[in-house]
Every structure is written in C-alpha cells, then in structure tokens.
Symmetry: D2
Subunit: 155 residues, 4 copies
Amino acid sequence: MTNSPSSASSPNSPRPHPAPASALPFELQVRYSETDQMGIAHNKAYLDWFEIGRTEFCRRQGLTYKSIEERGYYLVVVEAFCRYKKPLRYDERFVVWTSLREITPKKTAFAYELRTPDRATLIAEGHTVHIAVNRGGTVTPLPADILEKISSPVG
Amino acid sequence: MTNSPSSASSPNSPRPHPAPASALPFELQVRYSETDQMGIAHNKAYLDWFEIGRTEFCRRQGLTYKSIEERGYYLVVVEAFCRYKKPLRYDERFVVWTSLREITPKKTAFAYELRTPDRATLIAEGHTVHIAVNRGGTVTPLPADILEKISSPVG
Amino acid sequence: MTNSPSSASSPNSPRPHPAPASALPFELQVRYSETDQMGIAHNKAYLDWFEIGRTEFCRRQGLTYKSIEERGYYLVVVEAFCRYKKPLRYDERFVVWTSLREITPKKTAFAYELRTPDRATLIAEGHTVHIAVNRGGTVTPLPADILEKISSPVG
Amino acid sequence: MTNSPSSASSPNSPRPHPAPASALPFELQVRYSETDQMGIAHNKAYLDWFEIGRTEFCRRQGLTYKSIEERGYYLVVVEAFCRYKKPLRYDERFVVWTSLREITPKKTAFAYELRTPDRATLIAEGHTVHIAVNRGGTVTPLPADILEKISSPVG
C-alpha cells in the first residue's frame, strides 16, 4: 500500500486519480493571508506548500531538513514548476502528496500533487529540482547516509 | 525604480545575453523579508516579481491590470515555471524583463528574465500561463480592445 | 496540528506562566519561508499566526470566520501589536493562545500569547483590534447571534 | 526643511497633516500578492513596508543595513505596532515616512507614517523597537560610529 494515514481515504472508495506510489501525504489548510483579491489562494503560496511537503517527506524518512542544514548541506531550489488545476479558497483543506522523483549526490527532484482530502480531485501538481551546496554556495555532493535515508522505501 | 530599455545599457556595450527584443524592464530590489535563513531570496519571491513584471508590462501597453479586473476579467495563473540560475541577496538590485509570449482571447502567456542591472548576468528565467475568467471563475474570452492593447508593439 | 487545552500540558505539572484562563491553544510550526537571513522567523509571520489563532478561536466557538464573511461582515484589523520575547527558529513548534479581550457590535479585540508547547516559555505576546464593516467598507454592527457565539464561555 | 522630494507636495499647497520633522519619505505601491480576499492590503504587509522604510532611512544616513549586519550587528525587532486608518488597495501608491524615535547603544526605535503621495491623508502609523545583538543572538551595544550615522541630522 502506497500511502498512509488511514484517514486520508476510505478503503472502499473508488480512486479515479490515485496519488503516485510512494507519495507521502500532508494535510494543510488555506490561510487568510494566502488569499488575494481574486478570493483564491495566491500562486506563490503553492511553493510554500511544496516546501512543507518535502520537509515532511524528509522527516518521515527519518531525517529532518533542519539536520541536513546543520551538517552543512543546503538543497537550493534550481527549478520550480506548478500547474494550477482548481482554485483553492480560504480555509479549504487539501493534501500535499510529495514523492521523490530523482536523487543523485548533486541533484534531487521532488514531485507534488495537491488533492482534496478525499483524493478524488487534483488541485495542482508540480515539481522542484534542487542542487546540494555548502554554506558558501559551492556545489557539494550529499554524503551516502543522507542519500540512503531520503531514497529508502516509503513506509 | 524603473528603467526604460534605453537607459538599462549603454548603446556601445557588448550584449552577450540580450534580453528578448520586445521585453520591458522593471527594476526591483530584494527586500529583507524576501530572504530566508539560507541568506538568499526565497524561491517564492520570484513569482511575486514575475507578477510585478506583467503588471508593469500591461501598464506600459496603456492598460492597468487593475482596469482589466474592474471590467470583470481576471487572468488566473494556470501554470508557473522558474529556473533559478544565480542566488539573489538582500538589498541586491535586479531587473525583471517581461515579454508577451502568446495571447489569444482565452489564454495569455508571459516570459520573464531576471538580470543584473547591467544585463550581463541572467539570474533567473521563467514563464506564466493565464486563462481569462469572469468574477465567478468561468472562462471568458478577453474582448478585442484588451487583446489589442496587450499585444501592440512594445514601445 | 492542534492541541486541545487538556492535552497541552500535564495536569500535574507546575505552570509558572499560565496562559489566560479562557484562551484557546493552537499548535503551529515555523515554515522555512517564514525565516529570514537572521535565521529566525520574520516579525511579520507573527501577524499571520495571530490571524490563525483568531480563526481557530472563532471555529471552536461554533462559527467559522468564513461564514461571518459569507454573511457580509468583515472584521478589518485597525490595530496590531506584538512584543517579541524569544526568537523562533525553522521547524520549531509553538502554541498560539488566543483569547477574546473585548467585543461590542462594532469593535472586537483579541489577545495572543505564543508559548513553547510545554507552556513554560513565553515567546511573544500581542493583540489585534478589529472593526466590523460590510463588503463596501462601511462600519456595520455585528448581529446579536455572532456576538453571542464569539463571546460565549470557552469550553 | 524636514523632508525632501520636492515632488511629494506642491510648495503652495496646505499641509493639514504634516509628516514628522526629520522623517524620510519612500514611495511604494501595493503589490497584487499583498492583497487578501477582502480586496485590501493584508495587515502583515505594513510590517514589510516599515522594514523598507527603516532600510531606506539608514541608507540615506550613509549606512546600509546590509553593512551593519556585515559588521556583525543585527537589529532584531522586539516590538511592533501599527494602527490602520484607511485601507490600501492593489496598485495604490503611498509614501512611508520613517523617523528615528530613540537610539542608544542597545536599543533603537523607529516611527512610521504611511500617507497618500500628496501627504494629505494618513493611511497608517506605527513603530518598531529593536535591540542590537551579535550573530549568536547576544545583546551587543552598537559602536559609536554606527550610532552617530543613524542619529545624525536628516538632510
């Protein structure tokens, strides 16, 4: 079974748009300050949510992003993409499904899907690409133990 | 706060990376609150800057984005992409070059380049795609006069 | 993401700095994008957290802020204050304790305390004052049923 | 003469609400992403604008805030207050008037007024209080040369 919180979907419900295998879900809610005068969540808020998605992905792999930085590695964003399918409104709940798309010592890529809590509706999808640098900004390969943890099978 | 295209570079200087022919420049500066603990501008700030770029693009075409909304048309973002080439630091000045990539009654796309004020260095590049909707969120073709103004030759 | 009042501290633990009697707690965590280059949460993030605090306060009083706006009332902020006592770092957990300080048909005030999850340390404290306006921005007294719900004793 | 850009007001116009003597003006414009679904600038945006105000205040005193940090001093915010008098809408221009209210080696306070470009209307007013700390967060008195520059008479 791909993903976890049993509360995220009923076992008997149809899943016309299954989230990617190995994706990890994290539920969020639209903040008032994330809306704009169009009455929907502003496009930049999704990049925050992607960031929270990969933070939680790492945490559940047994590695906080904070601890990666404390060891002197920074995963800077070199590419970000988002396709917005349905608007999100204030106070609406949704789930970010984060999966690891690629990992090498120098480059990591995550994919994201935002879905309604029942999984049925795809709200947005996207990806980010990261390179590993040190505090001074020089490209620095990630050590083996970090690579292994991030890429270990998702429980 | 703004440069006209002609003031942004000396006529005799080499232009190894020319900005797109019809692009309009707008100068900005990194705000403290736009940095994160990595000491560089956060990835989501670029989406704000793209938005400012297209706002100013429309304004110089003789059409404020505000007036488009007042007539009942909203250009919702359906796709956003950014490639980050060089980090930007607090208080650093840069120029957003915005160009119209595509326009039809239902779909508009803008391309962006962020460059150092001397144009020599490409800091980031990206694009956004928009569809026109009405206040209720229904796809609504843009009227001819708005299309014409946005797509008229850039002065 | 949330604690009920009872779960936020053990009943037998000393409470050297008790949160206000009628305050409602809501647990949050510092987002990466909320930090700045000083390595701590930016001062403006606290106003977001206050807003989330009062949103959750209203929700637990049986009234979503969303429903208040749907009925045509907007609680615009006319005053905001925050005293920052301890810095907050990326990924740190904390609890916003929100209490109603004053409510009349035209004016509402909330007080906030940010504390460590064990309640022992006060991180920040502040307040916001709101007036009720209609969609057009005119001051409009809140109806009795909204007033009663917001000001009913906190469970 | 207190404040400068001759363009900020006509010499013959009445000034019913003069900005404080020694305040420095900086013009800004409301970004789309700074609005919320109420259709006005969100309350937290004002703290960004205050920050820009004091950044520009320091710059015009011959001292960039960036250079203060490079010398190892950080002016952390320990108190922030804002009174919101008139809403600000998307694309609206306004001027932040920043003045130094107090400065000692350990504590600095700035006051702010947001006004319409013609100065006639007060949009918001507030203040921030800062203490000087070093990179490790320990309170560290500002050196005499920084104090002198910040507190020198405003040109």
